[in-house]
């Protein structure tokens, strides 16, 4: 090895020792930020659950929130469509800007939840037909025309990769479907409102492995049209489907970076310990 190369190698070692050689943490908002969260604090009564959370969530990407139980990731997810408003003792400071609008200064929560849909851990379909479940939201918005509703229902079920499995039994009870199918109908019901953002709170934790993979595949396809934020306890799932990952611990974001970096070369020892299963 010649002298110039030797010097270059020395420089590389030096850079790495100072941390410069390692790829920089993904610039927040490097892409087109759909959601901008600035210095968000949340209190349940006296107890603070989120501490100064600031991060930008890019449009048409999947952002995964990971962390041990009680770290604040689901609480954070629920702040994105003001679900925490339903709890009396909750107090929130800081800003959440979606589509250039601060959602906590705007009073139109209905409009917000139309644009920011949510899918929960367990399928929560209404005890009515598959068709009526998907058409429920659009009907609530005043769409009565049958042809128009038929179109929305079909498009939404296709978008949730479940159309072929249910097209012949749209009028039968949605509760007769398997858990995996019900969860995809829940996703169709969210899509029917034509949201910009879909929040998912552990959407596959109650599903069998095959249904889980189908939903994961669906999420990957859906990011062409939607911005998706997903809370998951399954780290392999976060690694498979997300573009960026935020690691929460004790109400703070410890590390927020490209998913590749979080699972290959995390910068914070606490992230390393969590993703490698050393705690949590």
């Amino acid at each position: 090895m010649n002298r110039a190369l030797k010097e270059h190698t020395k420089e590389l070692v030096k850079q790495n020792e100072t941390g410069k050689g390692i790829s920089e943490m993904a610039q927040r908002g490097k892409g087109n930020a759909k959601i901008k969260v600035k210095d968000l604090n949340l209190f349940y009564g006296e107890k603070q659950a989120l501490f100064g959370v600031s991060l930008d969530i890019n449009e048409k990407e999947v952002t995964a929130l990971i962390g041990p139980s009680g770290c604040g990731k689901s609480t954070f997810l629920r702040t994105l469509n003001r679900m925490n408003d339903l709890i009396d003792s909750v107090k929130i400071t800081g800003d959440i800007i979606i589509n250039d609008e601060n959602i906590y200064t705007s009073s139109d929560v209905i409009k917000l939840r139309t644009k920011v849909g949510m899918v929960f851990q367990k399928p929560n379909l209404f005890p009515m037909s598959i068709y009526d479940n998907v058409a429920y939201g659009p009907r609530g918005q005043g769409i009565k025309n049958k042809k128009e509703l038929d179109k929305i229902v079909e498009e939404s079920l296709r978008g949730a990769a479940i159309w072929d499995e249910v097209k012949d039994r749209l009028k039968t009870s949605a509760l007769g479907l398997s858990g995996g199918q019900q969860q995809r109908v829940c996703i169709a019901r969210a899509i029917a409102m034509k949201p910009d953002v879909i929040l998912m709170d552990e959407p596959t934790s109650a599903l069998d492995p095959i249904s889980t993979l189908k939903v994961e595949e669906l999420i990957t396809q859906m990011k062409e049209d939607f911005t998706i934020v997903i809370v998951t306890h399954n780290m392999q799932q976060a690694a498979r489907i997300s573009d960026k990952t935020a690691f929460f611990l004790n109400g703070e974001v410890v590390e927020y970076d490209e998913t590749d970096n979080i699972f290959s070369t995390p910068k914070d020892q606490r992230t390393e310990d969590y993703v490698t299963g050393r705690f949590g």
Binding site: T9, T276, F279
Partner: protein
Amino acid sequence: MVIRENFENSLQELKKKISDMGELSIQALENAFIALKTQDVEIALSVIEEDTEVDDLDDEINQFAVWLISKEQPVARDLREIIGALKISSEIERVADFAVNISKATIKIGKSKSLLELTHLEKMKDVSVQMLQKALQSFLEANIVMAKEVSDLEDQVDEYNSETYKTLTNYLREHPEDMDQLLQLIFINRHLERAADHITNIAESTAYLIKGKIYDFNS
């Protein structure tokens, strides 16, 4: 209870196998040189026979690593350690192959009057063994500074290699009657230079698993 204690134990076991394999390769290089210096064909043959132990350990490490990856689904540093062990194992296996090649050359030289003192081959072997010891220690202790020192030592091997090549080719012009032995010594010179390259690769893999960044010490 320590979380992932079994996995930690498996990683230690993997490291132990790499360490054992490295020790066998060092022994193979040393024995190959004893055979070359003493022109002892029996020792040379034993180096060739004992290479199967290194090959078996390489297979064992490969299988163990694949099993660990499928069972534990490692990420981050854990994954880099296992992938590092896979790569390092194959580099050590190559180093042991060069010890075999040196032994084969020794057998071909036979009992003809040794011209070894013309060369830096023994010094190259000594530095190579030192490099391998350092590379193994840097892997076992996750020591990046030591990994870098391995690449510095490689420069010495390269210098000895050039000088030995010049000496042997000049000598060949003047003593064509010694061509058979001189050719074998030139081959050994090449084997040792290659062995040092592979040992440097071990240091690079170690640097990667420590820092998560790719280094090119070899160039």
